[in-house]
């Protein structure tokens, strides 16, 4: 039963990792951009949630109503203002620029909020739980998981069923021909980044409710996100959810064996999958 419980908790935790990863997966799929600042943007969203929920005295989940559009706006401006200038055949400039951005965000948060750990106060939600058949499920992890599934399903629907998704896929396929269709690449890319950071806004607020955070933790969130994306297969959104769950379960089972093994077990499973299936478990079909 302990093991079953560990697997269950790991699965639910995987939802949060999938939320970390979905935005990464989306922008990589659309524009082959690897955003090194992604983890720090998650932390930025958590601080944004802190400022808004404390400032207005509202529940952090209600603060999402403001955090998500704010992050989307930041994403659009960031892509249009800075990142589009780095896009080209060479993948190095966007890597370097987002790395620089990561440093700037971390230090900006340090200046504004100090290195003290912060937490979003979600009240009774944090400890509420459901019991079924000897297993106990926290309402918060369950909510995170359900949200992750809903976000992935929503992104998937957007990608394959809407005009915006068509524009994303076309631009991803052939940027110059998409331009011939009247799609301004700079705008399409900025919309993709806006969507990516909107998801990051949700991820950041959940992160802040679940654990305490400080300006330095972005890096490891980036790693979890990356691992989930790579395990699932680049550019495959449902694969990203599966990747998050595999990572979460590996960590929970590792932690069950010995608490010190928790993070290591996740990384080991990631390395194992990378060694056996370098393109991930569910690589996107190539056209």
């Amino acid at each position: 039963m302990e093991w079953l419980n560990a697997i269950l908790q790991g699965t639910l935790l995987g939802g949060l990792y999938a939320l970390f990863a979905a935005g990464l997966s989306l922008i990589f799929g659309v524009m082959r951009l690897v955003n090194i600042a992604h983890g720090d943007l998650i932390v930025l969203a958590a601080y944004l949630g802190l400022v808004i929920s404390a400032g207005l005295g509202i529940h952090p989940l209600l603060a999402l109503v403001l955090v998500v559009p704010a992050m989307a706006g930041i994403g659009y401006a960031l892509q249009r203002g800075i990142l589009n200038r780095t896009m080209g055949d060479d993948i190095l400039p966007p890597l370097l620029v987002t790395f620089g951005l990561s440093v700037i965000i971390q230090n900006g948060l340090l200046m504004g909020f100090s290195a003290d750990p912060q937490k979003l106060q979600a009240g009774a939600l944090e400890t509420a739980s459901l019991s079924a058949g000897g297993l106990t499920i926290g309402v918060l992890p369950l909510l995170m998981f359900v949200t992750a599934v809903a976000v992935i399903a929503g992104l998937q629907w957007m990608f394959y069923r809407t005009a915006l998704g068509r524009a994303f896929r076309a631009t991803s396929d052939r940027q110059d021909v998409a331009q011939l269709m009247g799609l301004n690449r700079a705008h399409v890319f900025a919309l993709a980044m806006a969507l990516s950071l909107a998801v990051t806004g949700i991820a950041g607020v959940f992160l802040g409710i679940r654990t305490s955070f400080d300006p330095s933790i972005g890096g490891s969130r980036l790693i979890f996100g990356f691992e989930a994306v790579i395990i699932g297969g680049l550019g495959n959104l449902w694969g990203t959810l599966a990747g998050g769950v595999i990572l979460g379960v590996a960590q929970a089972v590792g932690g069950q064996i010995h608490p010190s093994l928790q993070l290591l077990a996740g990384h080991l499973v990631f390395l194992l999958i990378l060694a056996i299936r370098p393109r991930g478990l569910f690589p996107k079909m190539e056209g």
Binding site: R169, D173, V177, L180, M181, G182, G287
Partner: protein
């Protein structure tokens, strides 16, 4: 003489350091069908990509209805009503046949062309509409590429080597559809390797040789000798 819709004024185009076009001057009148011929590497595709905005040029080098458009991006040029059927078809592999057509019409320009009209022109595409575009035969893919360009209801359609790599019977099928496309006042520039074919469907012809216009004339009166001199420079 009618005013040209498109005019090229001493267009120099480059790919990085390599200059592909030297002082190309040409024009297309309203509703006119013009052929561009020339050997491989003469600059035909560069010319098409320059007009479409995929290669940026000096603003005044390309004019659309008197307005300089040489510096515009491809999406801005497309919005003006210039559509390119690119060499090699270049469909979107992640999109179904129908999605390829729909995205061609996403600018929402008004006009006679819509999904139904494209399916009338190429009925086979209706049968294949939910397939991946890359699963079609070459000829069918070319039909999608042409349909995709038509969906934007262009006033000028640029067709770059639409018969490349296709069987003669398919080429005939596509060219038979051409009058139904340009018959309604749409101007067209057709780049074609098959000179006889190019001359038979166009009113005027330009020949390019090493990036320069080596011949300009009426398609029905230009002689074989003139063409071979212009083509090979001999």
């Amino acid at each position: 003489m009618p005013d040209p819709v498109l005019s090229l004024n001493r267009l120099d185009a480059r790919y990085g350091d390599f200059q592909a076009l030297y002082g190309v001057t040409a024009h297309v009148n309203e509703g006119e069908v013009v052929a561009i011929i020339g050997a491989n590497g003469a600059g035909k595709t560069t010319l098409m990509r320059s007009i479409a905005g995929l290669i940026r040029n000096a603003p005044e080098a390309i004019a659309w209805k008197g307005q300089p458009i040489g510096r515009l991006r491809a999406d801005q040029v497309a919005a003006l009503g210039i559509a390119l059927v690119p060499e090699g078809r270049l469909l979107f592999p992640s999109l179904s046949v129908e999605e390829n057509l729909i995205i061609g019409g996403q600018l929402g320009r008004r006009g006679p062309w819509n999904l139904g009209r494209v399916y009338e022109l190429f009925p086979i595409l209706k049968e294949r509409r939910n397939q991946q575009s890359t699963s079609l035969s070459g000829g069918q893919q070319q039909m999608v590429a042409i349909g995709r360009a038509l969906m934007s209801n262009p006033e000028l359609i640029l067709m770059d080597e639409i018969s490349l790599g296709l069987a003669p019977v398919i080429i005939k099928q596509i060219y038979d559809a051409l009058p139904g496309i340009v018959g309604q006042g749409m101007a067209a520039v057709i780049v074609e390797q098959d000179i006889a074919k190019a001359l038979s469907v166009t009113a005027r012809v330009y020949c390019l040789q090493e990036g320069r216009v080596s011949l300009e004339g009426r398609s029905d009166t230009v002689s074989r000798d003139e063409i071979s001199r212009a083509y090979f420079g001999m």
